[in-house]
């Protein structure tokens, strides 16, 4: 899944911006999650060994991105894991949107992953979710590290 998802981090004075793009909203969300892992360590160094199920709902798409990234922050912190691959499904529900996902990753291995900084939370700073003129979706925000 998410085969066309792309990701990058972008500079912020004190913290790190994370950005995902894709053919669908779900792909953009997947890319943003990979970028968040990249704010911590090299995502290529993280093995997709076990899945963690994540579900969240929000009244609008930008809050949903925030909730998605913050759910991952919570799972990383409490399970001591890093995530490398994301299967994301987003569907309308009632007055908003519901996200169901599997985040694949493994336990933190400090020597191998060399994690630089934990993410404290995803912020509203530079928060943007939109379909671009070329039709691709973009999902981004700054995460506090």
């Amino acid at each position: 899944m998410a085969t066309q998802a792309a990701w990058e981090t972008f500079p912020h004075e004190a913290d790190v911006g994370v950005r995902g793009t894709g053919a669908t909203l779900a792909e953009a969300f997947s890319g943003a999650a990979t970028a968040m892992t990249a704010a911590i360590c090299d995502p290529a160094a993280v093995a997709a060994r076990e899945p963690v199920a994540i579900e969240c709902a929000a009244p609008e798409v930008e809050l949903l991105l925030l909730d998605w990234l913050n759910a991952l922050v919570f799972e990383m912190a409490t399970r001591r894991m890093l995530f490398a691959r994301f299967e994301v499904d987003i569907a309308p529900e009632d007055a908003g949107l519901r996200l169901r996902a599997a985040a694949w990753g493994e336990a933190v291995d400090v020597a191998r992953h060399q994690p630089a900084a934990e993410v404290k939370g995803a912020s509203f700073c530079e928060l943007k979710v939109m379909q671009q003129p070329d039709g691709r979706w973009l999902a981004q925000c700054v995460v506090d590290v």
Partner: protein, 477 residues
């Protein structure tokens, strides 16, 4: 920053006149060079904060101000509940009560030189640091609530340190009004394994030497002399504080939208102090302050144990403990001469009460509050003293650190962690970190010159220079 919009009030004081939605002016305390180097976003954020309801006197920015979320980092603003004032989760930030404490060691640099490597290794082994690290302590639900109510006072009762420590912590180690019931179960779960951990990023434990004394009388009052070895710990409320920030930022944004409040920046999300949400946030935020104080107290205990192993007989009494990201209820005299209870937000700013303040320990009352400023691991940290009259300038506040000169992305592009460690070792500074990438992102040149920042704080009359500290050992997360 474009200074054409600013009126210069003094060598290190600039006014951003009130305009548009601003209810009060903005005031930036900084030298011309520092103001010019600041991002225009800082002025924008100072102006946005000035537009919030119930703000008193001015929206302030400290000399180390930089672009934050909603509030600038280095932002100070006070609100009056009786005038519709607000409390803002964005105005406190994610790392609630992140702060610095400094400990004496009773040792001179020569006492430590021969065992520096051993000390660095043992501190690194004993202080849980970095992503994924866990503490030895596991708290039950009841114990967690007791810790959130009691702060460092709870930690001392549990055997981490002594009563004497509490006298040298803001609010004597325990902020009143903490409400563990306002803290989400997710926040408590995040803290379950993180008591007594340092964290990562810019957090550190350093062994430092007093490199130079600038005010002999105040240094004496603080018990400092050139050549003295001290230990400084920089960390905060760990996962609990981060989750409280996350929870309430979202809740305040949604509540503002539902109430039809238009915010110039969603990160300014706030709630009236006289509202259920505002009161719940204050209760949770105070619990996070207590968590940070307990955490630094436990880390102090671990540092003392490591020192006792390497240097038997060494005692490490607390010099002082300051918090950076807080909203505190304090009594101040506003510009109109009225004495009133205000809710002072300090985001990346240090409380810096001047001489004579009743809150200060008796032995520091004549000197003013110790203001502990973290620098970078390769340069220097500073101890300042709250200046006379600082309460009329920025509600008794000063700067908190150097501030970054470049993004983490850029630092990573420029430096390799291994080289940074080797170069600092050649200068006699031993770095211990689980992550070379982390070291590269925190390379000394990634930070601004902390000396310029403290000079500006001194010249602006916020806090006077007392002593410069040079790092000997740095344990990084």
């Amino acid at each position: 920053m474009d200074t054409s919009r600013l009126k210069r009030r003094g060598p290190c004081e600039w006014e951003l006149p009130a305009s548009g939605r601003m209810r009060v002016p903005g005031v930036i305390f900084a030298s011309k060079e520092l103001v010019q180097a600041m991002d225009d976003k800082v002025a924008e954020q100072v102006a946005n904060v000035a537009s919030l309801p119930g703000i008193v006197d001015a929206s302030y920015a400290m000399p180390d101000a930089h672009w934050g979320y909603g509030f600038p980092i280095g932002g100070v603003a006070a609100f009056d509940a009786d005038e519709g004032g607000v409390v803002s989760a964005g105005g406190v930030g994610f790392d609630i009560s992140c702060g610095v404490r400094t400990l004496h060691t009773g040792l001179k640099a020569a006492d430590v030189e021969g065992v520096k490597r051993q000390l660095a290794d043992l501190l690194f082994a004993r202080i849980p640091a970095g992503v994924g690290s866990t503490g030895a302590l596991r708290l039950s639900g009841q114990e967690m609530d007791a810790m959130l109510r009691g702060g460092a006072r709870w930690a001392v009762k549990e055997g981490y340190g002594s009563e004497a420590d509490l006298l040298r912590i803001e609010e004597h180690g325990c902020v009143a009004g903490a409400d563990p019931a306002a803290v989400s179960e997710m926040a408590k779960k995040r803290q379950r394994d993180e008591m007594g951990t340092l964290g990562s990023g810019n957090h550190y434990l350093e062994v430092q030497v007093v490199d130079q004394v600038f005010d002999a009388m105040v240094a004496q009052a603080y018990g400092l002399a050139e050549g003295d070895v001290v230990v400084s710990i920089h960390c905060g409320s760990r996962g609990l504080g981060h989750q409280i920030g996350t929870d309430f930022l979202r809740e305040m944004v949604v509540a503002a939208g539902q109430a039809g409040i238009v915010l110039p920046d969603r990160e300014l999300a706030c709630a009236p102090l006289k509202s259920t949400l505002g009161q719940r946030y204050l209760g949770a935020m105070r619990a996070a302050i207590n968590c940070a104080l307990a955490n630094r107290q436990i880390l102090t205990h671990l540092a003392r144990a490591a020192f006792a192993t390497v240097l038997p007989g060494a005692r490490l009494p607390l010099l002082y403990d300051v918090s950076h990201n807080t909203c505190k209820e304090e009594t101040h005299t506003s510009a109109d001469g009225r004495k009133r209870r205000l809710f002072v937000h300090r985001k990346g700013a240090t409380r810096a009460f001047g001489p004579g303040h009743a809150e200060l320990p008796a032995e520091y009352r004549r000197a003013g509050q110790p203001v502990l400023i973290g620098g970078s691991m390769g340069t220097a940290s500073w101890i300042l003293a709250g200046a006379a009259g600082t309460e009329e300038r920025a509600f008794g506040s000063a700067c908190h650190g150097a501030g970054r000169a470049m993004s983490r992305n850029e630092a990573l592009r420029r430096w390799h962690g291994r080289n940074v460690v080797d170069e600092l070792a050649a200068k006699g500074i031993l770095i211990r970190s689980p992550s070379f990438r982390g070291v590269a992102e925190e390379a000394p040149l990634a930070y601004k010159d902390v000396g310029e920042v403290v000079d500006a704080a001194d010249h602006a009359g916020l806090a006077g220079k007392v002593a410069r500290l040079r790092p000997l050992v740095c344990v990084k997360g």
